[in-house]
């Protein structure tokens, strides 16, 4: 019996060890494309050689960093993009950052729960919505940023505070399943039309930070009239837990129409093309305009942070505004905040709808209560 037991344990251990040692190779087409872009950018940068020498020196120092010593970054976004950014940033510095990838809502929950518990564990937070950053800023929890690339940031996309920055922009669109319907809705208003009854999906503002931004903006477009959401509910709209799920649910055929950000559409289309299949997903720019969602980033104030880590944190924030990093995010569907990178995603004739965050914060309580009543 003991022998048998030992045998079973041995087999399990071997399986686990084998599993743990399997080599990782990841070279997708998108990745290769980005690598090329990165290399091109680098060759254009006159400071690269100098930087690399510095980096080689720091690399030795940072190589032995334990997990506790590394910079902890809470972020949301596509995994492949984050991996690319991490590799790119660490190529020059060694293994100095730890990415903790979550959804937008999770980033918000985790940061806020830790804040309430009295100790935010992250050094840098990237993702969620400006409302979280405004709250953190008001409580004096964000460090002031020293942005080297500030002159490149599009003036209209700059954050309201000096203590956080906007890294990217994306737009809310209407999506539909081209196999199931030919007559797609052209505006948010049309989603209440009876012919789309029980066929519409959008992310739940109660679960997703980005969805809350979208709902707040639609609420503003509708002149703070909550009846719009009542109409949607009466028309049988269903709520997904995240925006990323919306295009998936439409492709799967569960729903015919949805409201979601364009970057997910871009990535899904690229993936389908790469893997050689077609997806019945089409995009429509709403008549009311494309709601712009921005992804903020900030450094959490921490007096106990070592000078070295503070420097790396600042370097990371500046890296995210560099052409190299912005190009990487652009490949994954996000719009750059730099004025020297063209916006290839938003058609010129489509109006950009901006969220008035001051107004959104003002009406937050009222809107939340009314939204909760309906859903």
């Amino acid at each position: 019996m003991k022998k048998k037991l030992f045998g079973i344990c041995l087999v399990l251990t071997l399986i686990l060890t084998a599993c743990g040692n399997a080599k990782v190779e990841e070279k997708g087409e998108v990745d290769k494309e980005i690598e090329t872009t990165t290399q091109e950018n680098k060759s254009n940068d006159s400071k690269t050689v100098e930087k690399e020498t510095k980096v080689a020196e720091t690399e030795e120092k940072t190589e032995e960093k334990t997990q506790d010593e590394k910079l902890s970054i809470y972020l949301s976004g596509p995994e492949a993009m984050m991996k690319k950014l991490e590799t790119s940033f660490e190529k020059e510095r060694g293994d100095v950052v730890d990415f903790l990838l979550m959804s937008c809502g999770q980033v918000r929950n985790k940061v806020w729960t830790e804040k309430e518990a009295g100790n935010i564990q992250a050094d840098i937070v990237w993702g969620s919505d400006p409302m979280l950053f405004n709250k953190l800023d008001n409580e004096g929890l964000l460090a002031t940023l020293n942005l080297e690339n500030e002159k490149y940031i599009d003036e209209s996309i700059k954050a309201e505070s000096d203590n956080y920055l906007m890294v990217n922009e994306r737009y809310v669109t209407l999506m539909y399943n081209s196999d199931n319907i030919s007559d797609c809705p052209k505006s948010y208003e049309q989603l209440k039309n009876e012919k789309y009854a029980n066929k519409v999906v959008m992310a739940d503002a109660g679960q997703s930070a980005t969805a809350f931004s979208i709902a707040s903006c639609i609420y503003q477009i509708e002149n703070n009239d909550i009846n719009y959401f009542k109409g949607l509910k009466d028309n049988g709209i269903k709520l997904s837990k995240s925006n990323g799920q919306v295009p998936s649910l439409i492709i799967e055929g569960q729903f015919d129409v949805g409201v979601g950000p364009h970057d997910a559409f871009v990535r899904l289309t690229k993936k389908a093309k790469k893997e050689g299949y077609e997806i019945p997903l089409k995009l429509v720019w709403p008549e009311e305009g494309a709601i712009a969602i921005r992804r903020p980033m900030g450094i959490i104030k921490d007096e106990n942070r070592s000078e070295e880590n503070q420097k790396i944190a600042e370097e990371f924030v500046n890296f995210m505004l560099s052409k190299e990093a912005q190009k990487i995010t652009e490949q994954f569907g996000f719009v750059s905040v730099r004025n020297d990178i063209e916006n290839t995603y938003l058609p010129k004739d489509v109006k950009k709808q901006l969220i008035d965050w001051n107004k959104a914060t003002e009406c937050e309580g009222e809107f939340k209560k009314a939204y909760e009543e309906i859903f």
Binding site: V24, A117, V201, K241, G244, Y277, I374
Partner: protein, 568 residues
């Protein structure tokens, strides 16, 4: 005189430091730090509004209509699941233990395998099967191309059904164990006195196993109330809220006060039901006899007679619907390039598994962590639970009752709340383990101890107290009594408890999701992250298939070390 008073002092000090008091002291410290402190932190946070200590948060939530709707939905769902699982688990257990049904082994196997499928995976397969674009729709479309298919995939009823399918094995295990142990000689007596089989069943068998129904029902009830994943998957999209989803929403809206108050409401509701059921259990006792004698009484089991065929058909349909179909659906989906694409050969691929095994480092880490966290936490939880049950059984006083009750508390606390409590309790000194793997392991221990206590308590109740008293009189120390006398009599419950806890660790989402840091991800985190990212249900299905296979392997391993006899 001095000598005498010194002797008296030494004696009273010695008396104070007797084994029982030392065990009580150690247990109290552990229980307070591990169980009471995190839960108390949740209660405390309900009173904090904008940094001030005030009852405003409680008043606001108690006067909010939505809170009551969520509470009502939670209770409706919990009772629905309770009755369905009682019926399903009880019927199957009776079929296996008290009838001459031919394929008992198949039932045992399918029930356990059903338990191996995580609840959110069942909800995923539910969506894959019944939703628009799902397999039923696709088949109907082949027959009627212009069909306007409509099915209410997202509802409270769907949540109740999925949770029932997931939780009925708990009832099955519990009732089967009770039936195995309940005295057949009483049934014999009933039959000899002229009672019909049904009369004997209703008047003798059922009352004997009723405490088991209540005990395991309590577990089902609390797990249903605590469930978040299925409710979030199937009820929230339709705008239906239960307390756990309300808590999650409050968390998303950065409202820690509401989150804490809703948690307190949930805890209090669960505790009230727990108290009612427990007071019933305290008035009842099992009647057991040696299992070996049972085998001689095979003649007394119910004969299915002509209804054999009917029972076979019903059982087959049941397992096809609740186990085979979901499994087929998951398997097919795991091989598709993208779930939702037409089922053609060109749309099938092995790529999903290739990514998981050879490219995705996250998956390998998550798999390793889930196994290690599951093993470590269930072993520690078992050790604690056994000592707690022993202490409660042998010291029926207030001290023991306090420890037992506090250790059972997490049963009424949703996992998501345990995680929040853990953050508040263990993010700062004296126990600063937030961000390490230990916070997940400690929270798992919190979750597992009451489950193992439930598994063990029923068996422990049947051990005559005189045995322990005799051993004590013979001078056997407490550790010896626990290891050599108590443990062998409850080991079956312990092994089944470990197996259940390990399987929970393999698929648990909310705790690890809230507490993980880089390097500590689990399979639950992996599944949740996959669903949130660009991968569709195909990748979720691939991970699910792997989780199910591991669960089956674990089952085989556990059986090899003797759990089969424990009722798994």
């Amino acid at each position: 005189m001095k000598k005498f008073s010194n002797k008296l002092n030494i004696r009273s000090v010695k008396k104070c430091f007797n084994t029982s008091n030392i065990v009580f002291l150690i247990l109290s410290i552990l229980i307070v730090l591990l169980f009471l402190y995190p839960i108390m932190m949740i209660f405390k946070n309900g009173f904090i509004v904008d940094g001030k200590f005030t009852p405003e948060g409680y008043i606001r939530e108690f006067t909010n209509k939505n809170t009551w709707i969520a509470l009502l939905n939670t209770i409706k769902m919990a009772f629905g699941v309770l009755f369905i699982t009682w019926f399903l688990g009880g019927s199957l257990a009776f079929l296996v233990e008290r009838t001459d049904y031919k394929y008992k082994k198949i039932i045992n196997l399918f029930v356990f395998l059903s338990f191996c499928i995580p609840s959110y995976i069942i909800s995923v397969s539910w969506i894959q099967i019944v939703s628009r674009g799902g397999y039923i729709h696709r088949i109907l479309k082949l027959i009627y191309p212009s069909i306007n298919y409509s099915f209410n995939t997202y509802s409270l009823l769907a949540t109740t059904l999925v949770l029932s399918i997931h939780l009925y094995p708990l009832v099955f295990f519990g009732i089967r164990n009770a039936l195995k142990k309940s005295s057949i000689s009483l049934n014999d007596a009933g039959r000899l006195l002229g009672g019909s089989k049904w009369h004997v069943f209703l008047k003798i068998t059922l009352p004997l196993i009723l405490p088991s129904f209540v005990s395991v029902g309590l577990l089902v009830f609390s797990r249903t109330m605590a469930n978040f994943g299925v409710a979030a998957q199937l009820a929230l999209p339709a705008g239906i809220s239960v307390l756990t989803t309300g808590i999650y929403k409050a968390m998303s809206e950065l409202d820690i006060t509401t989150q804490s108050v809703l948690s307190v409401i949930l805890i209090l509701t669960s505790m009230s039901i727990y108290w009612v059921m427990n007071s019933y259990l305290n008035k009842r006792n099992f009647f057991f006899e040696d299992e070996r004698k049972e085998k001689k009484h095979n003649k007394n089991i119910f004969s299915l007679g002509k209804s054999k065929v009917f029972v076979n058909v019903v059982v087959s349909i049941y397992f096809i619907l609740t186990f085979i179909l979901p499994l087929i659906s998951l398997t097919i989906s795991s091989f598709t390039k993208r779930w939702g694409l037409k089922l053609k050969l060109e749309n099938l691929t092995l790529r999903n598994f290739e990514i998981l095994f050879f490219e995705n480092e996250f998956f390998k880490r998550a798999l390793f962590n889930s196994i290690i966290f599951g093993i470590v936490s269930s072993i520690i939880a078992v050790s604690l639970a056994v000592v707690i049950v022993y202490f409660y059984k042998t010291n029926k006083n207030r001290k023991a009752s306090f420890i037992y009750k506090v250790a059972s508390l997490p049963l009424a606390v949703p996992n998501i709340i345990l995680a929040v409590g853990a953050i508040f309790a263990w993010i700062n000194l004296p126990i600063k383990i937030y961000g390490t793997k230990w916070i997940i392991i400690f929270t798992y221990i919190m979750l597992f101890v009451p489950i193992i206590i439930k598994q063990v308590k029923g068996l422990a109740d049947n051990i005559d107290d005189s045995m322990d008293i005799s051993a004590k009189t013979l001078g056997i120390p407490i550790l010896g009594r626990i290891i050599k006398l108590f443990f062998p009599m409850i080991k079956k419950g312990v092994f089944s408890g470990i197996a259940i806890c390990f399987l929970i660790a393999l698929r648990e989402i909310p705790i690890s999701l809230l507490l993980y840091a880089k390097g500590n991800e689990t399979l639950g985190v992996m599944l949740f992250t996959i669903q949130s990212n660009a991968y569709g249900l195909e990748m979720t299905s691939a991970v699910s298939i792997i989780v199910i296979i591991i669960s089956i392997v674990v089952n085989i391993v556990v059986k090899k070390i003797g759990v089969r006899r424990a009722g798994l």
